[in-house]
């Protein structure tokens, strides 16, 4: 831990560097990160809100948008963590520094973008829905838990991918069905009345409670259930512990294999 603290400035420098490289030379810069969820939102709204007319939620585009930005942050964090250690191979082979810095910087860059986009979505949602309530105070807690959850999983996929190059392709294949099974364009109650199926959709999929809790605060203007709060905090702690343990175990050979 002392080692990580000593290298805090390195972490800061890496985040800055990534952010700059990401938005340099693109005319719209950070705006691209809202374009992607906007296009998805438009597509789902067209399909479920206009064509099939199955959407049961008022202001359906806003309902979609909150879930989508959470999902985009989560999936982009994993997809960009996976190859991150290989991308920084030149550094790893030549300088001793805590290797966690690399995936942590990558996830943090995604988090910075996510906060900007979520900020915009939140303002519009709260204004149109009038859903501002004291529950909004829980939002920072949910966001910190989401960041911790993504960071823990980011550590896992980055160090696994450095050892086994199949991890990134498996991940990108898995994220597509995972997206459709997550309560992004629906709420679990819309799909099924069966308790078991509903339970699986709400609690077995670990990203579902994050999406639903954040949507409950922003879109519904209510506090999430205590169970959801406990779940997201526990999921974050578990992901971080597992990520740290696995990373520590597998990082020794990084300079040799990347």
């Amino acid at each position: 831990m002392a080692e990580l603290k000593r290298y805090r400035y390195l972490f800061e420098q890496m985040v800055r560097r990534e952010l700059r490289q990401k938005y340099q030379g693109s005319a719209l810069g950070v705006a691209w990160y809202i374009v992607n969820p906007l296009v998805l939102m438009a597509a789902y709204y067209l399909m479920f809100g206009v064509i099939f007319k199955v959407a049961k939620h008022a202001d359906y585009p806003l309902f979609l948008m909150v879930g989508l930005v959470v999902w985009v942050f989560f999936s982009q964090s994993l997809l960009s963590s996976a190859p991150s250690l290989l991308d920084q191979g030149a550094l790893i082979r030549k300088a001793p520094f805590p290797r966690e810095t690399i995936p942590a910087a990558v996830v943090t860059v995604q988090a910075v973008t996510f906060l900007v986009v979520l900020g915009l979505v939140a303002v519009v949602t709260l204004a149109i829905r009038g859903s501002i309530s004291p529950a909004i105070l829980l939002l920072p807690v949910l966001l910190v838990a989401l960041y911790g959850f993504a960071l823990g999983l980011g550590l896992i996929v980055s160090v696994l991918h450095a050892h086994f190059r199949d991890v990134a392709p498996i991940l990108s294949a898995a994220l597509l069905p995972w997206f459709f099974l997550s309560p992004i364009f629906f709420a679990p109650g819309d799909i099924t009345d069966k308790a078991a199926a509903r339970f699986a959709m709400e609690w077995v999929n670990p990203i579902a409670p994050f999406i639903e809790a954040i949507r409950r605060v922003l879109y519904d203007g209510h506090a999430p259930s205590l169970a959801a709060l406990v779940y997201v905090l526990a999921a974050a702690a578990l992901a971080l512990l597992a990520g740290r343990a696995l990373f520590t175990r597998l990082q020794g050979e990084l300079a040799v294999i990347v």
């Binding site: 831990m1 002392a2 080692e3 000593r6 290298y7 805090r8 400035y9 390195l10 800061e12 420098q13 890496m14 560097r17 700059r20 490289q21 340099q24 920084q88 030149a90 550094l91 790893i92 082979r93 030549k94 300088a95 001793p96 520094f97 805590p98 450095a162 050892h163 086994f164 190059r165 199949d166 991890v167 498996i170 520590t248 175990r249 990082q251 020794g252 050979e253 300079a255 040799v256 294999i257 990347v258």
Partner: protein
């Protein structure tokens, strides 16, 4: 502190700043082309076939007291760079241990990790951070580093516009200002023009005078003789000679079959 460091190496407090201890250190490397594994190999059991691993370090024991200047020489593939990577904590050992006291700075490649789109000044901040310095520590040295690099106005433009000479000058300038107790250098002193090379050597000599330990890997025999009091000759991962620089370089020249003035034609006794 990372666990990897805890099991094979650490900056120990019971060692004097600058002291280095390698104890029965061994390390082998797989020389297969596909070093990263695939899940298929994991599922189907360990990889079969391919060449046997190369023993880069074979039971190496070295004690380097604080302030000593040590040259590590040997033919290509003798284990010189591996020794430095082990000392730097970049590559873990298979067995044995390595430890040092104080602050270690490794110059294995000048300018490793420079962001090409960033200015020289910004890369100084990143380079310092990579060696564990915080913002205030780096900013205190910033002007000295810029002056030493002799880059002038180029310090404000992206390093992708630099010539290769300018690139390594900046890299050296950063590393030379990090206040090391242990300085590890791998063949990186041949940077810039002759005047700048002399300046680099003088800077390292000044750090040695101030009490730093120097471990230098080089094929430049004259440089090793000028800079080092002790020479370690490696061959196939083994220490085959360890002693004074003069005798060490004689041994090295005999081993390489390169005659010197003292030994016009000789064989190893």
């Amino acid at each position: 502190m990372r666990e990897r460091l805890e099991d094979s190496m650490s900056a120990r407090t019971d060692l004097a700043p600058g002291e280095i201890v390698l104890d029965h250190a061994s390390r082998a490397f797989s020389v297969r082309a596909d070093r990263g594994g695939t899940l298929k190999e994991l599922l189907l059991g360990k990889r079969a076939g391919g060449p046997a691993p190369i023993q880069a370090l074979a039971d190496v024991t070295l004690h380097i007291p604080a302030g000593q200047t040590v040259g590590i020489v040997g033919r290509n593939g003798a284990g010189k760079s591996s020794t430095l990577k082990v000392l730097a904590g970049i590559v873990p050992l298979d067995s044995g241990s390595v430890a040092y006291g104080g602050q270690l700075v490794s110059l294995l490649e000048l300018g490793a990790g420079f962001g090409r789109d960033f200015s020289g000044r910004e890369n100084i901040l990143l380079g310092g951070a990579l060696h564990g310095l915080d913002k205030a520590q780096i900013e205190a040295k910033l002007e000295d580093i810029i002056a030493f690099s002799e880059l002038g106005d180029f310090i404000e433009v992206p390093v992708k516009t630099y010539s290769s000479g300018m690139y390594v000058r900046l890299g050296f300038a950063i590393a030379a200002h990090l206040d090391a107790d242990v300085l590890l250098i791998d063949e990186v002193l041949a940077v810039g023009d002759e005047a700048f090379q002399r300046k680099c050597e003088a800077r390292i000599a000044a750090q040695v005078d101030a009490g730093a330990t120097l471990v230098l890997v080089s094929h430049d025999a004259a440089l090793v003789e000028r800079t080092c009091e002790r020479v370690v000759v490696l061959d196939g991962g083994h220490v085959v000679f360890d002693g004074s620089a003069r005798e060490g370089m004689e041994y090295y020249h005999l081993q390489m079959g390169t005659p010197t003035a003292d030994h016009p034609q000789g064989t190893i006794a």
